[in-house]
Amino acid sequence: MAANGCVTAVQLGSLSQADKSQLHLLPCEVEHDGPADVAMFFSPTVKEHKCEKTVSFRGRGLKGQEVNCPQGYTGLVLKEAQRPSSDQEDRIVMVSSVFHNFTYWNLETPPTSDDCVVMAMAWPKLAEMIHAPVDG
């Protein structure tokens, strides 16, 4: 719930139509909010040696690896059908895609278990443990 008292609701009915596209987390900020020809320009150029993937984006070398969502969790990409005109209205978002893993990319540096995305995935498990009742 937002601070101003409005509700943001996820329309679960949209879940069945959500696509399951491959997700890429890039180490840069792209000033673009919309579709991109990933299947045309990006996916076919990804090279894989063992677990390490390499690709380039805008002429810069990226190295990456696939990470899974924490166990018991599903990744969602949410999209707002219509942004309300005032901040007093409730908001409705749809699930535009669902993912269980994604590829994150570093600029030039090989992926390691110390990368912040990888470390972040450990939090749900840790949260569960620290909130669990302490046994006698």
């Binding site: 840069c28 900020e29 000033e31 673009h32 045309m40 002429g59 600029l107 912040c116 972040a120």
Partner: protein, 306 residues
């Protein structure tokens, strides 16, 4: 010329070589170095070496090799076949620097410029010849940059070998002409038969010479510009021609090592400037506790609004 090793993955650098003639392992040899495709915004840059026994220099002259730029494409092809036939005393090797290698090297965090890239390719090829057992005594190099410094660098790197670096060496020394023919023939073949790794369907191959001032190249660059990805890997992103087009026609991309004004970058990242931060009254429910390092290091944040 069999380019299949490079074509199997044209996003990386690749070395191709002829067998090393036995004569080159037992007799004193000379070696020429030249490059093809330094200027174009499209396709690879190819470094070539050619070597033969010093005693066979005249035989090389008899093949009538000349500076590759003064020859027609057909003449170059023909001369390459002759060189290939002279394999009892002539050997060659190529280092193909893919356009993707050029882009990612030149745009690397620790910048790796084209001169350093070229010098390293040349040094790598001479070392390759030595490793193959070629008895090198003389090396002739064509250069566009300052010849003296480069000559000194190579002489120090290869003691015992007489290094001559000259502008237009490709028209002065037949062994350099031979190297320039090998390099140019390879580049021409690669550019003509470029297999796009991208899923572009039928690609218009009217890309002209690849030089930035060629109108055909210019219109090709406009045609294949993607607003998000920019270009296929066939294009050298580090060329100002490509950069200028991307700056004006593609969406802006920010990297953490961009040389951007600090305050501007901060404002963009927070969508707010320092000044508005100071003037804004703090919301009543502002959290007073500082977030633990565990969360900041993982860039984890609680959010209550989208």
């Amino acid at each position: 010329m069999d380019l299949s090793d490079f074509e199997a993955d044209n996003s990386v650098s690749c070395r191709l070589a002829s067998p090393v003639p036995e004569a080159c392992k037992s007799e004193d040899c000379c070696l020429g170095i030249d490059e093809a495709g330094r200027g174009p915004v499209l396709g690879p840059m190819v470094y070539g070496i050619c070597f033969c026994p010093v005693s066979r220099k005249e035989d090389l002259k008899d093949l009538k090799v000349a500076d590759s730029k003064t020859l027609s494409e057909a003449e170059r092809e023909n001369l390459f076949l002759k060189l290939d036939k002279a394999k009892s005393f002539v050997g060659w090797a190529l280092q193909i620097l893919s356009p993707n290698t050029i882009s990612t090297s030149m745009l690397q965090r620790a910048k790796y410029n084209l001169n350093a890239l070229s010098h390293d390719a040349a040094i790598g090829l001479v070392q390759y010849a030595l490793d193959c057992g070629v008895q090198l005594k003389e090396v002739f190099v064509d250069t566009v940059g300052p010849a003296e410094k480069y000559e000194e660098k190579l002489s120090q790197r290869f003691p015992g070998i007489k290094v001559t670096v000259r502008p237009k060496a490709d028209s002065l020394f037949p062994i350099v002409s031979a190297a320039s023919i090998c390099a140019k023939v390879a580049r021409d073949h690669i550019v003509k038969g470029w297999k796009f790794a991208e899923d572009l369907g039928e690609v218009d191959i009217e890309y002209g010479s690849g030089y930035p001032n060629d109108p055909k190249t210019k219109s090709w660059l406009l045609k294949y510009l993607d607003p998000v990805f920019g270009y296929p890997q066939f294009v050298r992103f580090s060329w100002s021609t490509a950069q200028t087009l991307l700056d004006s026609k593609a969406v802006t991309v920010h990297w953490d090592d961009d040389e951007e004004d600090g305050e501007k970058a901060a404002a963009r990242q927070n969508n707010t400037s320092m000044l508005t931060y100071f003037s804004r009254s703090k919301p009543a429910s502002a959290p007073t506790r500082e977030t633990h390092r565990f969360f900041t290091e993982r860039r984890l944040q609680s959010i209550d609004t989208l």
